[in-house]
Point group: C2
Chain length 367, copies 2
């Protein structure tokens, strides 16, 4: 194989596929990037058997072929080269020679044929959304997945399509995050659970442009994201996702409207006095026009008052400050509505258009 | 005590003195910042018994007094407050109440009188240099101090004043870094060894302005840096610094002139193929007009050629790439001169004005 690419193009492609390189594997070939120059295209692929990414690079193929090269070493070398044309040439012993200006590296690769190909995905079921929307809905839900492998389904997110709507749901036993977006077209319904890790990597790769689309295809076992020059294939999590409809209620006893930034900054200050291990709740005292936040810990105490609009009853309720902050950080609205029932029932942070709905369980506290 | 300061002033002062807060001590008082409001001045002090820093803050003293407050907690609280006036008030039980807008923190402090004062420094011997020069000479020498406590003197830097010149020297057994600067005035000679840790913290605090000065005072045991509203007092390292004059030689067999950035980038690329544990040297082959750099490691090989100007003999010599890169990173010149003798003798990187001189020992290699 002999190919010539621009350094910047190569860096971008290597960085894209590197997200799927395995870093804890007993199979050395999975630590590699496959470079293929066939049929006039230069394609880079990485695959850790759960998640696979392939992308194409602009370039000149002087001799077709393929080779698998250690991803970490290859990526470091490419990054440190001068900003100019890079030539990659391999011989029959899988030695790769990488040349740029007067610098010349030689490293050992492995036979490309041993690299596991990405699964073929049937393109029956699909939806199309903008990169911007996909990035937003992941960012606004990913924080409430669980990292506990014992509740495997909670480590992923439900993607549910019904007619012209996409619902994305994540939950971890203490909270539920729901984002709904309208699609441009109407689609056949489907429900899949996508691994959180896949979504975390997708967010890093997609540009987030409003004008650029992502085509998403699903089968019973896999999901495929196609965008720009890149294809991301991931296994799905198997099993039936949690029924959340009975946990959602639109009844409330107290509704408050509060400035999001003020509330977030206030909780952020209060949580200074809590160390991770301590699990102290912040206590929120809601009365007419005023929310008083209060915390008492080993380190000291803090209180602060925020002006609010309130409907319904006064309420004293405790929360894990992290759960509130996680939600407040991802909402773009300036003013938010919080719906509460009593000190033992979940609160809901949701907008009038029903585009997001966050459920958070309160925490018991001694008063 | 009751004082009112601007949040930004307070953040700046806390961040300055925090550099001298002890983080591994059995004395809780050393984890504190002392706040004193006396004689119309608000002063913050931290002291880990090796290094002490005090600075004053603008503000309004409503009731004089003093208190010691845990530095980490105080600094976190102050940073997270709104950008407005901050009131700090203490009671007889050393409880501190920190108020800003509607946020109100209460934390326990300790009696200010228990805080160890900074030593008084006699101001007999002194020099004055710009903050810019001090920052530069530290940055350009600090990388070659040793972190080995068994060779205590190598963990500091020699500051030697003679007439109108300041020489700063650091060494670690493999290399020596020397920076010389001309002072504006002539001073009585002195030689002191300043702990590396002190210099690392000073660099973070001083602004580096060409127009702002630092007054430096020395006694037999201490060094005092005075600048802006701040005083930094440090113990000196005791003992006679290494005699380096017999290690410096101006004889050479080979002199090369090379583009610094090209050389640095080339070594940086080559060192990709070396893992810390491996200690592989890079091999440099100097011939007329050309320097060829070469490395062979477990991971692969790399070679690159750079155009140079050369006087004297051809030479093949090996170096630890890190030692060369450390020097090249801090030199501001575009073109540098390297003086060499043979593959076993140190090389010198120095300028014609003799403002810097870096000695690096070569490494044996099997050819």
């Amino acid at each position: 194989m002999k190919i010539i690419c621009k350094k910047t193009d190569l860096v971008h492609a290597v960085s894209t596929v590197s997200k799927a390189v395995s870093n804890k594997t007993t199979l050395p070939i999975l630590e590699c990037i496959l470079i293929e120059a066939v049929a006039g295209k230069i394609k880079l692929t990485a695959n850790d058997m759960e998640l696979g990414i392939e992308t194409t690079v602009e370039g000149n193929i002087q001799e077709p072929g393929k080779i698998a090269i250690n991803a970490k070493l290859f990526s470091e070398i490419v990054r440190k080269l001068s900003d100019n044309d890079v030539t990659i040439e391999t011989d029959e012993q899988y030695k790769a020679t990488i040349t740029c200006e007067k610098a010349c590296f030689q490293i050992m690769g492995q036979e490309g044929n041993e690299f596991p190909y990405l699964p073929e995905i049937e393109k029956n079921q699909s939806i199309t959304i903008s990169q911007f929307s996909l990035k937003e809905i992941i960012r606004q839900t990913i924080f409430s997945i669980s990292d506990n492998e014992n509740t495997k389904l909670m480590t992923g997110e439900l993607f549910e399509v019904k007619d012209q709507q996409l619902n994305v749901v994540s939950l971890d036993g203490h909270r539920i995050s729901i984002r709904k977006i309208q699609l441009k077209d109407s689609y056949d319904p489907f429900k899949v659970v996508v691994p959180g890790k896949t979504l975390q990597e997708i967010v890093k790769i997609i540009s987030g442009e409003m004008e650029e689309d992502v085509n998403i295809y699903v089968t019973s076992k896999h999901i495929l994201f196609e965008f720009d020059q890149t294809r991301v294939v991931s296994r799905l999590l198997e099993g039936e996702f949690y029924k959340i409809s009975q946990m959602l209620s639109s009844d409330y006893e107290t509704k408050i409207t509060i400035n999001k930034k003020e509330f977030l900054n206030c909780i952020d200050r209060a949580s200074l006095l809590i160390r991770e291990s301590e699990k102290k709740p912040i206590i929120i005292d809601i009365t007419d026009h005023s929310l008083k936040l209060n915390i008492n810990s080993f380190f000291g105490s803090m209180e602060e008052e925020i002006m609010i609009q309130k409907e319904g009853r006064d309420l004293l309720i405790g929360f894990n400050p992290k759960f509130l902050m996680d939600v407040l950080r991802v909402i773009d609205d300036e003013e938010i509505h919080i719906y509460l029932v009593n000190p033992k029932a979940p609160c809901f942070i949701k907008d009038d258009a029903d585009s997001y709905n966050y459920l958070i369980l309160p925490v018991n506290f001694n008063h």
